[in-house]
Amino acid sequence: MARIVGGIATSHVPAAAGAIAREQTDDPYWKPFFDAYPPARAWLAEVQPDLAIVLYNDHGLNFFLDTLPTFAVGAAPAYHNADEGWGIPVIPPFKGDPNVSWHLIERLIDEEFDLATCQEMVVDHGFTVPMQLLWPDHSHAGVSCVPVCVNALRHPLPSPRRCFKLGRALGRAVASYPDDRKVVVIGTGGLSHQLDGARAGFINPEFDRLCLDKIVDDPDDLLDLSIHDLVRLAGAQGVEFILWLAMRGALSGRVTRRHVAYHVPASNTAAGLLVLDHDP
């Protein structure tokens, strides 16, 4: 039987990939950001997951506006990274688990999530930066991946509640997989940040701390937020918090916070990290 051993939510700041490539993780600017991650890695070493479901958003690498799915699930044997155009180095591919992918796809569509399915899929920094932070130096050899891509780029976006429900359905789909898998669910993006417009540089630590707190024990309190509320309170790109809520939705059993970190700024972003144990 497959079971979800826990969840991680983390920012996916692309500049962190540059800092890793340039070996600047100990620089005074970056050190407080990178220092958040060793406890998350220690937790992963303890729970030893063999599958990561990664809920993230694409930023114009695999998908363009010609065909932009709201929810898309990878069903590929491997997921390659590729040139995003502005200079973060391309890293080696990640292993897929297509049997699990198709099981999840079948169950999610059964539950009326009408997904796009991708037998080929390139993954951008929304996927790769968290993987680099959690499994440095490509040490993810024992972990297969299922990318779940959620549109957080072109409105209309799926609501916080809808994303949480997607997580719930994913949780049920994992629990019904017949073979043994230890699954970690990862949600990437956020916390507050805004890249575009005269409000660029907007950060809201008060709202971020509320979210970091509520998402552990009272996620329901966050589900009445609209996308417009999230843009207003967390910034135009702070809406990526919907990926955190999707992660949290997948954990329907008893949840215990194992690690939390918050640091401003990492590039233009308020960086958050949250590690949750899950007892199904």
Binding site: P156, V231, P265
Partner: protein, 114 residues
């Protein structure tokens, strides 16, 4: 298309913006490929013509004006592929949109954590 009250200083990248900016965003999306970046840099005017940009979009590209690029329908994640070619970081873009120096914009971000 959005019925919600506007958020000051914030452009919601929605269907209306995506319609307006399609050619511009499609050109920027092409910059994921190194050979397309080289072709643009070799002859920006010809490259913009090939992608069907209108005059307003072309001028915004020539000026590398982020507010004008957004007003012309650009989505920030696509625009980053254009501005990245010129070595501009997200802090550079932030400074250009807020009328601050890059150092002042960085300081604003640092102070947000205090």
């Amino acid at each position: 298309m959005t019925r919600e009250p506007p958020i000051p200083g914030t452009v919601i990248f929605d269907g209306a913006q995506a319609m307006k900016g399609y050619a511009l965003n499609k050109m920027c999306y092409s910059f994921n490929r190194r050979e397309n970046r080289a072709a643009f840099l070799a002859d920006p005017e010809a490259y913009m013509d090939r992608h069907g940009l209108d005059e307003r979009q072309k001028q915004a590209v020539r000026d590398l004006s982020v507010p004008d690029l957004l007003a012309a329908g650009g989505g920030i994640h696509y625009l980053a592929k254009l501005t990245g070619m010129f070595g501009l970081t997200m802090q550079d873009l932030g400074a250009r949109q807020t009328g601050m120096s890059v150092e002042a914009f960085r300081e604003k971000l640092r102070r947000a954590g205090d």
